[in-house]
């Protein structure tokens, strides 16, 4: 290993700078780098510039300063879309994580048929979102759907679900959580497997009860995984699009804008109303908010997340 290192250094010394670059990482990074500059950096800058213009894709963009951002603040639809999205983030992310954790705790200790149970709960995660959305449109169908029929068996009145302004968002949440739980469960199971069994043995010798073990061992040691899931799922709910779009395809945001989510309104602004500048401003707000939330969560992490072996570091 040392010989190799010395030989490698000798090579480096002998070579001129351009040749060194060619032998170094550049050829390996080249395709990615070209794409990063041309298909990420350039579009990002374009979009930032357009967010300060009026641009309908037909005529060249016209500089309007911060007017798009000012308009957004006063746009009632924008406010509705933010509120709807916040609802999904605040309820959807914790709901999925709590249910996923519950399933993982149920499957944690060996039980006959655990592979089958795990497979069944995870299965929805691999069904394409579009298919999930159309299956649930059909399940939620007020007249012939499975859900109202099931409720009828226990004498609950049929509901409008996706057609009811007060139930449309909860209906979408059911669908999204159904998709999410299996993935969260698998992640939690992987995290639980990392917790050393001796800790529990020591705790039960000390007389710790089930919920105490959960509170003082499982949750602290699982906190990195829990924290990570929160970041991933909060970002997901900020940006989710497909399920809402398909579920309301004939009339986006319906009923009465109760499913007008941020990404839906952004899409409409750009591709239905051709307000590219306005949409770019919305896109940048989404980007910045995503980053801010991530940074805040990372700050909180220092306070709440427990890392094993930290005391040695």
């Amino acid at each position: 290993m040392q010989i190799a290192a010395v030989a490698h250094e000798a090579d480096v010394v002998r070579e001129s700078r351009p040749r060194r670059l060619l032998r170094g990482p550049l050829p390996f990074l080249l395709p990615w780098l070209v794409g990063f500059l041309g298909l990420t950096v350039v579009p990002l800058l374009l979009s930032l510039y357009w967010s300060f213009t009026n641009y309908d894709m037909l005529q060249s963009p016209q500089w309007v300063g911060t007017s798009n951002y000012v308009q957004l603040v006063h746009d009632p639809l924008f406010r509705t879309s933010v509120e709807n999205t916040a609802f999904m983030v605040v309820i959807g992310a914790p709901a999925g994580i709590i249910l996923g954790l519950g399933c993982a705790l149920l499957l944690r200790r060996p039980i006959r048929g655990s592979a089958l149970y795990r497979g069944a709960i995870f299965m929805p995660a691999v069904v394409p979102s579009v298919a999930v959305a159309v299956i649930f449109i059909w399940i939620f169908n007020p007249d012939y759907g499975l859900l109202n029929a099931g409720l009828g068996l226990v004498h609950i009145r049929p509901q409008g679900w996706l057609a009811d302004p007060s139930l449309a968002k909860p209906s979408l949440l059911i669908l999204l959580v159904w998709e999410a739980v299996g993935q969260i469960m698998v992640l939690m199971l992987a995290g639980l497997a990392e917790i050393p069994g001796e800790l529990y043995e020591a705790a039960s010798l000390d007389g710790a009860k089930g919920w105490q073990r959960l509170r003082y061992i499982t949750l602290p040691l699982l906190s990195p995984v829990l924290f990570y899931s929160f970041i991933v799922w909060i970002i997901f709910y900020l940006q989710f699009f497909t399920e809402a779009f398909v579920a309301t395809a004939s009339n986006l945001g319906a009923p009465v804008n109760s499913t007008l989510f941020y990404s839906i309104y952004l899409y409409q602004s750009a591709f239905s109303f051709l307000k590219m500048g306005y949409a770019s401003a919305m896109a940048w707000i989404l980007f910045v908010v995503t980053m801010i939330i991530t940074v805040i969560l990372f700050r909180l992490q220092r306070r709440f997340v427990f890392y094993r072996g930290e005391q040695h570091a």
Partner: protein, 294 residues
């Protein structure tokens, strides 16, 4: 009865009770999670009259397998299927082409500024596709790529792929994890033998990191097969639609042929479900490694 029997028996009985309670709960949960899928398959086999009856029955009395043939004729199903295959194949190949060498550069090679550049890759995971879709659409339009499949086929070869579940940045991150998990001596031994970096990558690293390649390939397939937003924006001609776009055509404002829609949805989901059944290990490993959505 001995003393130990008296002491052990209640404990064992309690354990059995707990265990049966877990089974009951898990069976209920499994039914809850499988029921929508059963409803999809059952509905796909119902006749036109049986699908619209109240109250609905879970299972069809006489399964109509001909629904599948009719569903394929209802929309240009196989054309969309072919488009989806092309896009997925291109995404898998493109991600391998751009991300495998990049992950090698970040995971195995040593160079100044490596970690800084890698942080940029990680930041890319945070980047929503919504931010890029407007400028990318305009750029592709100006390059006359709109009206072809190319806006979905070319970018993965340059490490540009973002779907809601998976992205090229995640692929680089995942592959790097796999490469770094390899024993360092393996790479050093190849270097002592005088192998160049490319030879090391192809003859030493890749054969051992096969699991990583399969995992990334599966994620690339799964996410591109099911992707909706990018096709929705870039494919504006019916003849270019992928299946995820085409499914919408079973619905219209006044009438939806739910039995055909469910049949088509099932066939659409089938490749992914099959891949999952046969490669569950890789999915689980990938999710555990990244914590990202599958």
């Amino acid at each position: 009865m001995t003393l130990t029997d008296v002491l052990v028996q209640p404990a064992r009985r309690r354990r059995m009770l707990v265990q049966s309670g877990r089974h009951v709960l898990l069976i209920c949960l499994s039914i809850l999670f499988l029921l929508p899928l059963i409803w999809m398959v059952a509905s796909s086999l119902k006749s036109n009259s049986a699908i619209f009856v109240y109250p609905p029955r879970l299972l069809p009395s006489r399964p109509q397998f001909s629904n599948y043939r009719k569903a394929f004729d209802y929309i240009p199903f196989w054309l969309y299927f072919r488009n989806s295959l092309i896009v997925s194949a291109a995404t898998i190949c493109g991600i391998m082409f751009s991300c495998v060498p990049a992950a090698y550069a970040f995971g195995i090679l040593r160079w100044r500024g490596r970690d800084l550049v890698f942080y940029i890759v990680l930041a890319g995971i945070m980047l929503p596709f919504q931010v890029l879709m407007v400028p990318l659409y305009v750029m592709y339009r100006d390059l006359h790529l709109i009206g072809t499949l190319l806006p979905l086929v070319i970018p993965p070869f340059f490490g540009m792929y973002i779907s809601s579940a998976f992205s090229a940045s995640v692929a680089i991150f995942l592959l790097r994890q796999f490469f770094r998990a390899l024993p360092r001596e393996l790479v050093d031994a190849a270097r002592i033998d005088g192998a160049g970096e490319w030879a090391t990558l192809f003859r030493v690293v890749l054969p051992v990191a096969k699991g990583g390649l399969i995992t990334v390939g599966l994620f690339a397939f799964l996410s591109s097969w099911t992707d909706f937003l990018a096709p929705l924006i870039f494919l504006n001609k019916g003849s270019l639609f992928t299946l995820s776009l085409g499914l919408q055509q079973y619905q219209s404002l006044h009438f939806t042929a739910f039995n055909y829609l469910m049949a088509a949805s099932f066939v659409f989901a089938l490749p992914v479900l099959l891949v999952f059944v046969f490669a569950q290990r890789f999915f689980v490993e990938g999710i555990a490694l990244t914590g990202l959505r599958g």
